[in-house]
């Protein structure tokens, strides 16, 4: 079946602009996660959704970062007023539900802030 999909695959933006990154989880998966992979910081957790609610937002690095999930499916990660340090690969993962620890990752969105 289809895996986790993310769009766009690559995004180049100018410093100060807002960007939206999209994640489509595996059909039927109710838990959704965002991570960030960067050279300096490795793989970092950002936020976790169970259904449409986010019980854990502890990894969001600043208030410029926000995420939402509607209909228990697609999620959007928004970065406002992008900075160069936001350049990274943003990964989305999903799992069957909150009791399932096995997460399946998408291909990521490579964000470059110039």
């Amino acid at each position: 079946g289809a895996g986790v999909s993310q769009s766009p695959s690559n995004k180049v933006t100018e410093k100060g602009k807002d960007v939206e990154l999209r994640c489509d989880p595996i059909s039927g998966h109710t838990a959704l996660y965002w991570y960030r992979q960067s050279l300096g910081q490795g793989l970092e957790f950002l936020i976790y959704f169970q259904g449409n609610s986010a019980p854990d937002k502890s990894g969001l690095p600043s208030d410029r970062f926000s995420a939402e999930r509607t209909g228990g499916s697609v999620s959007t990660l928004t970065i406002q007023r992008t900075q160069q340090e936001d350049s990274a690969v943003y990964l989305c993962a999903s799992s069957l539900d909150w009791t399932s620890y096995e997460q399946y990752f998408g291909p990521g969105t490579r964000l470059t802030v110039t």
Binding site: G42, L43, E44, F45, Q50, D56, S58, Y101, F105
Partner: protein
């Protein structure tokens, strides 16, 4: 706080050599442990996982890992590596919350 340490950042092996990648974690409660692999140009894939039971777990492609609770370790092993095992390997822990805490990764290069 949870943390994961991978001591080998870059490993170079010849084909047929044995592999062991170290992983230590810090967490006081019940943990779920994972090894993920990222092949060049591909996304993260689950290699193997430990939740409970037999501490020696077997994953895909001949990989295995041993959970040693007393040492807070979950080392990855493979008796004989192949060129196609060239990839980056990440150890991760998942505790009471559902987030994965990753180690810094180990780049494995297998020379033919």
């Amino acid at each position: 706080a949870q943390s994961v340490s991978q001591h080998n950042h870059h490993v170079i092996l010849s084909e047929a050599a044995s592999l062991e990648l170290g992983c230590n974690y810090s967490y006081g409660g019940t943990v779920n442990l994972f090894w993920y692999v990222q092949y060049p140009g591909q996304h993260l894939q689950l290699l193997l996982k430990y939740f409970s039971g037999d501490p020696l777990v077997k994953g895909i492609k001949g990989f295995e890992a041993e959970f040693i609770k007393s040492k807070f370790s979950f080392n990855l092993r493979k008796p004989s590596v192949q060129w196609s095992d060239t990839a980056e390997y990440f150890c991760a822990v998942c505790g009471a919350t559902n987030k994965l805490i990753f180690g810094t990764g180990t780049l494995l290069a297998v020379q033919p």
